[in-house]
């Protein structure tokens, strides 16, 4: 069981709600994923167009909602977004993400640390999205973040665990849960992240952009579960040379 702040999660697969072709597919995929932590964003209402109510169906599911600060370009805007989310959803949980660069959506480490410090001081449960920077992750834990969310590769890129060597360091040093966020494009990559010892993964695009999001959500659930169990079982050592699994001597007695 994974514990973040005071909340326990049976599933280590967290999911996003973006990019699905329609709301019913999104809700069915979330159910299939068995995810218990689901992210969402916030936007100014368009008074002139009718839109689906996202919140009501999500609130009827057995999931914890994690609003994000997407769109914030600096600490001030992110803190504002957190306050907005607290009023909207009656939650102090916030996925802190500050990415002023629209091309690669790289998170701004300086602004993220500034915002994290203030929001933690205000009593928020802060889960910051960051680059796979072990030093930054330590600093974020020190200011009180409930978890860290380092990226595998750029948001929505499906490039997988490009940052793997640094993710390993973050996991090794972690004093708070490590959630690998962004870039995971295939169940095998989610499985790999869990085998490495990540506490959870957050997947959105890979599920939403699949030809069959519901089936893909199930695949991710299985992969995350398998990866976690493999981590708990303990992977064998990687060797440079072959080590026979079967006896190589004595068989056939040299009769040939």
């Amino acid at each position: 069981m994974l514990t973040i702040a005071d909340h326990q999660f049976k599933s280590r697969l967290f999911t996003g709600t973006g990019k699905f072709s329609d709301q019913q597919t999104m809700l069915s995929a979330l159910a299939a994923s068995q995810s218990q932590l689901v992210t969402l964003a916030m936007k100014r209402i368009n008074l002139h167009s009718k839109h689906d109510d996202l919140l009501a169906p999500l609130q009827s599911m057995d999931v914890k909602l994690l609003p994000n600060t997407a769109g914030a370009r600096n600490a001030k805007e992110a803190i504002f977004a957190a306050h907005l989310a607290r009023e909207m959803l009656a939650t102090t949980w916030i996925k802190l993400e500050i990415h002023p660069d629209p091309k690669y959506l790289m998170p701004d480490p300086v602004e993220t640390l500034l915002a994290a410090k203030q929001l933690c001081d205000e009593g928020f449960i802060v889960l910051p999205y960051v680059h796979a920077d072990p030093v930054l992750c330590r600093r974020l834990a020190e200011v009180g973040c409930a978890a860290v969310m380092p990226l595998g590769s750029p948001i929505g890129s499906n490039q997988g665990l490009a940052s793997e060597p640094f993710l390993k360091i973050i996991i090794e040093q972690a004093t708070v849960p490590v959630i690998i966020d962004a870039g995971i494009g295939a169940p095998s990559q989610a499985c790999r992240a869990m085998e490495m010892g990540a506490d959870a993964v957050l997947v959105n695009t890979a599920i939403a952009s699949s030809a069959n999001p519901i089936k893909m959500a199930q695949c991710f659930a299985q992969a995350v579960n398998a990866g976690r169990q493999a981590y708990e079982a303990g992977l064998g050592h990687v060797n440079q040379h072959a080590h026979a699994s079967s006896p190589l001597t004595g068989f056939l007695g040299g009769r040939l």
Partner: protein, 82 residues
């Protein structure tokens, strides 16, 4: 914005005020509470947050805080996101 009966409206006895709601200039009856503002725009109060002049307004104040002339009011809701 203003608290009811605690601060005079700059519009005095004017029946209507002009303000900017989600980027659009609108004409509204004066002394309209934020809750009423949501209702007349068919916005479900349960799923939104209100910002008046760049300040997030606590839900507890929506019934008694009234719209004022030239306010910039923005209503936000949850949308899909990762």
């Amino acid at each position: 914005m203003s608290l009811n009966n605690t601060s005079p409206s700059i519009t005095g006895t004017t029946d209507f005020i002009r303000l900017v709601l989600n980027g659009t200039t609108v004409l509204l009856e004066s002394k309209l509470s934020l809750s009423r503002l949501l209702a007349i725009n068919n916005i479900d109060a349960e799923s939104v947050a209100i910002v008046v002049n760049d300040t997030v307004i606590p839900r507890s104040g929506w019934h008694h805080i009234t719209c004022q002339a030239n306010d910039r009011i923005n209503v936000f809701s949850a949308v899909a996101g990762g």
